[in-house]
């Protein structure tokens, strides 16, 4: 098991380096713009551009640049600097991470609690009105683009431009430490919008898994033992969750993708928005940092899911 974890982590790091190299290549070979030219002003003489390139390290060969970058990241934990604010990428990200984490973790809670419980109830009340209604709603939510749901939510419920003034609207995010209550209220809509799709997906998954599980032989055994139905269901839930766990990791990627859109729509100053802006501005090292961070999240989620799966399933654990 430890060997397995180590192997997974090693491959995870290798993956990060590969992703890093790919992003690196992508944004340098086909850049949206040369930051040196962008910096060079109105009369960008080649010599000045060259100098700026030297300052920014853009004159070196790509492998050298990449090597320098990787060295910085892995040996010195230095992710470079923004070409614009001269702020270290790490501190930029660190500053914006709380917003993104608030958004995604909160959404994950909403998504899991809502998704799984709706799924379980639907499976147990199969073919009832509740089941049909919740699965129908789920499908609608899955089918709706989340950025549009976000805009719609703002149009309907935000307290500035909404039809019903219920929740704080776009750009109202404040840090948790600054004002917990405002933090919470400002995130209600983003959480729900971001979680909607995933919750719906997982409600459906959980329902399917649960229905399948409840037909298993061991559930029959549990009934044959005379266990109260509540305990039988618990056994069912326990094993229905297992196959879902691996999918949780996949969903993290979806959630991160969604976070970019939701941060954009709700104007939450998080890493997603940072990434968006940095790409638009060709701010290489920030792009690199944010992409790396996102990839890291995805990879860690995958590893965690695999380990979690192994933890949850003794059959995997011991093999």
């Amino acid at each position: 098991m430890t060997g397995y974890v180590i192997r997974r982590v090693v491959w995870g790091i290798a993956l990060l380096i590969i992703v890093c190299a790919l992003t690196f290549l992508l944004f340098r070979i086909i850049p949206t713009g040369n930051p040196a030219v962008l910096r060079a002003g109105r009369d960008p003489q080649p010599q000045l551009i060259k100098e700026i390139e030297r300052v920014l390290g853009l004159d070196k060969s790509l492998p050298t640049q990449f090597w320098d970058y990787i060295k910085g990241v892995f040996l010195h934990f230095n992710f470079g600097y923004s070409y614009y604010s001269q702020q270290s990428v790490l501190s930029l990200i660190r500053e914006r991470l709380p917003a993104t984490l608030s958004l995604t973790l909160g959404a994950a809670v909403v998504w899991m609690v809502a998704g799984l419980s709706i799924g379980i109830i639907s499976a147990l009340k199969r073919r009832t009105f509740w089941d049909r209604a919740s699965m129908g709603t789920a499908l609608v939510l899955i089918s709706a683009p989340e950025f549009w749901l976000g805009l719609l939510a703002l149009l309907l419920f935000s307290n500035d431009i909404g039809k019903l003034h219920l929740f704080p609207g776009a750009g109202s995010y404040v840090g948790l430490t600054a004002d917990p209550l405002k933090w919470f209220t400002s995130l209600i809509m983003p959480w729900c919008v971001l979680a909607a799709g995933s919750a719906a997906v997982f409600a459906r998954l959980m329902r399917g898994s649960m229905i399948e599980t409840m037909d298993e032989d061991y559930i029959r055994t549990a009934r044959a033992k005379g266990l109260p139905e509540r305990r039988v269901i618990r056994q069912g839930v326990r094993s229905s969750i297992n196959p879902i766990v691996t999918l949780l990791a996949l969903e993290v990627g979806v959630l991160l993708g969604g976070a970019v859109l939701i941060e954009y729509v709700f104007n939450i100053p998080g890493v997603g928005l940072l990434a968006y802006h940095s790409i638009v501005q060709s701010d290489f090292e920030v792009i690199q940092g944010t992409v790396l961070l996102a990839s890291m999240f995805i990879i860690i989620a995958n590893i965690a899911a695999d380990i979690g799966y192994a933890y949850l399933d003794p059959r995997v654990r011991y093999s």
Partner: protein
């Protein structure tokens, strides 16, 4: 004869399905005496599993339409409310299944599953339940039960899993144990171990057993009485000896003559039952077996045979339209290794669906 422990009367179980109503059990009657073993023999789709699941009310959730009576301890299990039925399940009537691996919860330790079974019916502390679990594992012959109690099912071998299932079934000293193909998934050496274990436990604990299997060898080993099922019906029921020495139903003959015997000569021909098992959705008219019966007469397709005692043996019932004398003559021939003319007619012809 003493009052039977379990009496099934005219039990019918039907399932609505996409393709029509499945007549899984089509009016069966049998009884199990205290401390005795009843073997129910039949091929897949004969309704033997459904009938036993229905006994425990486990087909209710599948949308089964159930009629008839299942009398157990003075109560009719067919009409018993779910809550009361639950207190019987695993308590007075226990059940073990064909595939012990899929029948044990893969994510819970064996001990925990045993403890659950105990606590479902007894107000018993966890530690007491645990020591009882260890005891039960020891009883079914699992070595080192102290350690094994904390293992997961996948760490057990096939034989041990079935032992664990048996331990679980025995947790509350049931009066009746229903074993549904308990050895089908096991190798022959392990099967012998499990059968021996069941025999031993029955002697020690005095419970009645219903063993469901397709293997005549298995019932021959353990059963006192045998019921042969075909297409949702019982076609013959008698004591084990009678079924093997003087079977009355052509289907039973078929079963007996279509398996090679270890001790028989290699040159002895097998006499297969032609055709394929019937559809339970549209079962054949008249005697369900008539399309595959080498000895069937034209009017057997119309007349539904009743399960009736055979002459000379009031405990031997058969549902066959052939004359008793004719049956005995045919069996005598078969037993002697000759194949009656009718049976030779189309041994390899395939009545296709």
């Amino acid at each position: 004869m003493a009052e039977a422990l379990l009496r099934v009367e005219d039990l019918r179980v039907e399932f609505p399905s996409e393709d029509g109503v499945v007549h899984a059990v089509d009016g069966i009657t049998y009884q199990v005496q205290q401390g005795k073993t009843l073997g129910i023999v039949g091929e897949s789709g004969s309704g033997k599993t459904v009938s036993s699941l229905t006994t425990l009310g486990l087909t209710r959730r599948q949308g089964a339409r159930i009629s008839g009576r299942i009398m157990f301890g003075g109560r009719d299990l067919v009409s018993l409310p779910e809550g009361e039925l639950r207190s019987i399940r695993g308590n007075e009537i226990a059940m073990i299944f064909q595939d012990p691996l899929s029948s044990l919860h893969p994510l819970y330790k064996v001990g925990r599953q045993l403890i659950e079974a105990l606590q479902a019916h007894k107000d018993i502390s966890r530690s007491a339940a645990r020591s009882r679990a260890v005891e039960l594992l020891g009883l079914v012959g699992i070595p080192d039960p102290q350690r094994r109690v904390d293992e997961y099912p996948h760490e057990f071998s096939g034989g041990m899993r079935q032992r664990a299932m048996i331990a679980m079934a025995l947790a509350n000293d049931p009066k009746l144990l229903i074993a549904d193909e308990p050895t089908t998934a096991l190798d022959v050496t392990v099967q012998a171990q499990i059968l021996a274990l069941m025999e031993r436990l029955q002697q020690e604990l005095g419970m009645a057993i219903v063993i469901i299997t397709h293997d005549l060898g298995v019932v021959a080993e353990v059963a006192d009485d045998i019921a042969v099922m075909y297409a949702g019906r019982i076609v013959e029921t008698a004591s084990a000896d009678a079924v093997f020495s003087s079977p009355e139903h052509p289907y039973t003959w078929g079963l007996l003559k279509s398996i090679p015997r270890l001790e028989a000569s290699r040159s002895e021909m097998l006499v297969p039952i032609p055709g394929t098992p019937p559809s339970l959705i549209r079962p054949p008219s008249g005697c369900h077996f008539h399309p595959r019966c080498a000895y069937a007469q034209p009017d057997h397709a119309r007349i539904d045979p009743a399960l009736e005692p055979v002459p000379d043996d009031p405990s031997h019932f058969v549902a066959c339209l052939l004359e008793p004398e004719e049956r005995r003559r045919l069996w005598a021939e078969l037993k002697a290794g000759r194949i009656p003319e009718q049976a030779l007619a189309d041994v390899s012809a395939e009545g296709s669906s």
